[in-house]
Symmetry: C2
Subunit: 159 residues, 2 copies
């Protein structure tokens, strides 16, 4: 959703690491989540395609977990990139995080047909390990919240 | 994966509640996860389509969270259904759970091209609220683990 986030961290990932089903710009079948800064908070927006149904009328919880997942790793990358003196769109390649753990609590059924917004607050718990507190809103309604811990991609992810 | 689970709980959900992207038999674009008993443990199998990539060669974490999500709600339904004297395939309609919360820890990159197996141990924490401890294996390798809390679908999910 380019109209919501002008400079997304995912636009600048190295090509080899841009195939993620959730947020990889090169995965044609994926969701293309894009994560950027709004002040000192991170944001990702999505209008979930209708196929991601839980019960008719409501968004699939697995989609929300995926949305939180990529929002989380994107937020970690934004934060470490900023710590290193960079912003998305400045021509530098950001670090690539993977998810160590994810926790999500579904507080309300999430209605379909509304733009979802994930908001993240990122804290460093180790130079290579960052934590993101996430809230997911459907318009003004808080529907889910949780936490993602991301780690800088270890060598075990390269074949 | 019919060859792994003969009688799945999802085969018996009421039609109105069979549209889930993860496990609904009526969602043509979905993953059709099927969950059944193996003794007193619950199991779900999947060979993730290649589009569900994280980094090339490895399964997308959001897919694993989705797999755990539907395995969790299916496991809760199996357990309450058994408590009520029923087994999948006996002609009775099982209860339908939704996810209250989900936690997943990714212990190893999950290789693509291997059949995944989710194993669940279900416990009752309230007549309408059940907890499932989940482990996800790629063949013999434990790749992720966590917990799903499911609740019997509340009235807020019916339009």
């Amino acid at each position: 959703m380019k109209e919501y986030v002008t400079h997304a961290i995912q636009d600048n990932y190295a090509d080899d690491f841009s195939w993620c089903y959730g947020c990889g710009r090169l995965n044609e079948e994926g969701n293309h989540f894009r994560t950027g800064w709004e002040g000192d908070r991170t944001v990702t927006y999505s209008l979930p395609p209708e196929k991601y149904t839980a019960i008719p009328g409501f968004v699939y919880g697995g989609f929300l977990a995926s949305f939180m997942d990529c929002h989380g790793t994107g937020s970690c990358a934004l934060a470490l990139h900023r710590k290193n003196g960079h912003e998305p769109g400045d021509g530098s390649v950001p670090p690539r995080f993977v998810t160590a753990s994810l926790q999500i609590t579904y507080s309300k059924p999430t209605p379909q047909g509304k733009v979802l917004k994930a908001i993240g607050n990122v804290t460093e718990i180790h130079p290579k390990k960052w934590k993101v507190a996430v809230e997911i809103y459907a318009e003004d309604e808080l529907c889910a919240s949780g936490e993602v811990v991301g780690v800088v991609m270890p060598a075990t992810f390269t074949k």
